[in-house]
């Protein structure tokens, strides 16, 4: 059996809400294997985004541990491009065109070369936006923006992509096409996917479906 690309154990996270402490995650365990696609569903406020932020190394758990491949330092993980991220609100940089937004992931990692430009063009082709490479986010539709965000998440050949409700801001049809694109690209590139979604039909398209309930992950 291959080593997991992402291994989370006994994650605990809580927030202070007024006088009381709200325990959002109460010992979450998760293992993602290379090339595996996993969905996480749950009610609003169940802690899905909190869990995803922990898995992306953007936040630290109060208890428990996360190992990304063999790395335990979240800063090191982010700086190596091991992880790709897709957000509900796209978060494209408005001053950069589609191509430069994708390249930004590589610029930050360093080593922007001709191969990186070729990779960005290849990704634009894969997400069907070759013709719109020089368009600014303000000139793109919501679905197109999310496609650019998907391409950006794949720019650095990540081992795993964490996607936080990537269809949340899109209509149903566009959302479906974005999920199809994300899953297909991950399969093509043998990249693992952790998808947080509200939508059961999107969740059903992943290999493994999990539900976050009462602060723990359960098999659906």
């Amino acid at each position: 059996m291959s080593n997991p690309v992402l291994f989370a154990q006994a994650l605990v996270k809580s927030y202070q809400s007024g006088d009381r402490r709200l325990e959002v995650l109460r010992g979450v365990n998760l293992q993602v294997l290379p090339g595996e696609t996993v969905s996480i569903r749950g009610e609003s406020g169940s802690g899905k985004s909190t869990l995803l932020h922990l898995l992306a190394g953007l936040d630290s758990p109060e208890n428990g541990s996360i190992v990304w491949g063999k790395e335990t330092n979240p800063d090191a993980v982010r700086s190596t491009g091991y992880l790709g991220m897709v957000f509900q609100a796209f978060y494209l940089i408005p001053e950069l065109n589609a191509r430069d937004n994708i390249l930004m992931a590589k610029r930050i990692q360093g080593g922007l070369d001709q191969a990186a430009y070729a990779r960005a063009d290849e990704l634009l082709k894969k997400v069907g936006l070759s013709e719109r490479a020089n368009h600014l986010p303000s000139q793109l539709s919501g679905g197109e923006c999310q496609r650019v965000a998907v391409a950006r998440s794949l720019m650095n050949f990540p081992q795993v992509i964490v996607a936080d409700e990537p269809t949340g801001n899109l209509d149903e049809q566009t959302g479906d096409s974005v999920i199809s694109l994300l899953i297909d690209l991950c399969a093509d590139m043998k990249t693992s996917l952790v998808l947080v979604t509200h939508n059961p039909s999107h969740a059903m398209r992943t290999q493994r479906q999990l539900i976050l309930k009462h602060g723990v992950l359960l098999e659906a």
Binding site: H53, L58, R78, M85, Y91, P94, E95, I108
Partner: protein, 419 residues
């Protein structure tokens, strides 16, 4: 190009509303720099022109005594051996009454040693009629405005009355006869005071007019262009002290003073004016720095989620801080460059601007009368240029530091969650 510089420039110079705000910040810095460079250059120009006029009419430094200098040639020999000294020339000066066709005037008079004067004082440069070479003991050169007010032209005769005549006349029933001299030239220096009331004669004639015998009032000294006047002055003073002990020809009580020492108070006032103007105008640059800071603070607040994204993509806090700090630096560099271009362009056309303004206000004569110059002077010292450039860029950089610090403190997860 590092990503933070790339993004900083993209954010600053993107099209639309943001570009408008960036341009306002840049223009405000440019205006401050332009005003600073113009004012500092014009003030510097006054000082430079005044120095030039002083040096051209008096030499770089003067050697004087408390009374007359009796043995000028021995003294000149000592002075000319001092390192840095190019030449020296003796002079005598005073005030006379000048009369032409019953029209009197009371100009200052300079007696120049015709053998050596041209090595020290480039008077030929300022002669507009006649020639300095034609000056002899029976002739005189008048300043332009004095000639105009007396109605004197080259070839006319003028009468000179000196204080010596009063001394002679005391207690005696003598008729005072003036000395008649022929006008052989007219000079114009461009300094209102000198042009309005100065007469030049030979040293020998001046010694006769004032009854000085072989005495002179001082020695004008020219030094090499590469030498510092104060340094050479100190060398001459040391040489004079040494010579006074050795030679009976060198009288005691002699001292050398550089042009800046001789005009110390006037130069101090000029410097004070320049410093005050610099401080006041620096406030314009400070205000523009605050404008830049508010622009960048708004940007940081508006871009909170993007800052979170940059963190998520692997950007370090230092790099995010640099991204915003460099925007302040860029505004400073571009604004300063434009300010220098605008400033030097204005300085290039300054006389046309002044002419235009004075033509409309009819104040050209007043300008010449009070400011002594027919053209607006300008001289940009390298040190002034460095002060302006560094202060503008440092202030703009400081303006970018606070927004950069706030941006760097944002945690990616909090930034991404922000509304």
């Amino acid at each position: 190009m590092p990503w933070y510089l790339y993004l900083a420039l993209k954010q600053l110079f993107s099209s639309g509303q943001r570009l408008f705000f960036t341009l306002i910040s840049i223009v405000s810095v440019a205006l401050g720099v332009m005003l600073l460079i113009i004012v500092m250059s014009v003030m510097g120009g006054f000082r430079y022109e005044i120095r030039q006029k002083i040096v051209d009419t008096q030499g770089d430094l003067q050697v004087r005594a408390s009374g007359y200098i009796q043995n000028a040639s021995s003294l000149e020999k000592v002075i000319n051996t001092v390192p840095g000294v190019l030449a020296s020339t003796a002079f005598a000066q005073g005030v006379v009454m000048l009369e032409k066709d019953q029209k009197p005037s009371f100009p200052s008079i300079q007696g120049l040693d015709m053998r050596t004067v041209e090595k020290v004082i480039p008077l030929n440069r300022y002669i507009i009629q006649g020639s300095l070479q034609d000056l002899d003991d029976d002739s005189v050169i008048l300043s332009s405005q004095l000639a105009l007010s007396l109605g004197a032209r080259v070839g006319n005769a003028v009468q000179i009355y000196t204080p010596l005549m009063l001394e002679v006349a005391k207690g005696q029933d003598e008729v005072l006869l003036p000395t008649e001299l022929k006008v052989i030239g007219i000079f114009e220096i461009g300094h209102q005071q000198l042009d309005s009331s100065t007469v030049i004669v030979t040293l020998r004639r001046m010694q006769q007019l004032y009854g000085l015998g072989h005495g002179v009032h001082g020695i004008n000294v020219r030094i090499a262009a590469s030498e510092d006047a104060d340094l050479v002055t100190a060398r001459i003073n040391a040489a004079l002290q040494k010579a006074q002990g050795k030679s009976i020809d060198i009288m005691p009580g002699l001292w050398a003073r550089s042009w800046s020492e001789l005009n110390q108070e006037f130069l101090w006032v000029l410097q004070l004016e320049k410093n005050i103007m610099t401080v006041i105008l620096l406030a314009v640059v400070i205000v523009s720095a605050f404008l830049t800071m508010s622009l960048l603070l708004v940007l940081v607040l508006k871009k909170t989620r993007e800052i979170g994204l940059l963190g998520a993509l692997g950007a370090t806090r230092k790099q995010i801080a640099l991204c915003f700090c460099l925007q302040g630096v860029s505004i400073g560099v571009v604004g300063t460059s434009l300010g220098l271009i605008f400033g030097f362009t204005f300085l290039h056309f300054r006389n046309d601007v002044v002419l235009l303004v004075t033509r409309f206000t009819g104040s050209q004569a007043i300008l010449e009368r009070f400011y002594q110059f027919s053209e607006m002077p300008a001289h940009t010292a390298f040190s002034d240029l460095v002060i302006v450039v560094i202060s503008a860029i440092v202030l703009s950089t400081l303006a970018g530091l606070i927004p950069a610090f706030i941006a760097a403190r944002l945690k990616p997860v909090e930034a991404l969650r922000s509304e």
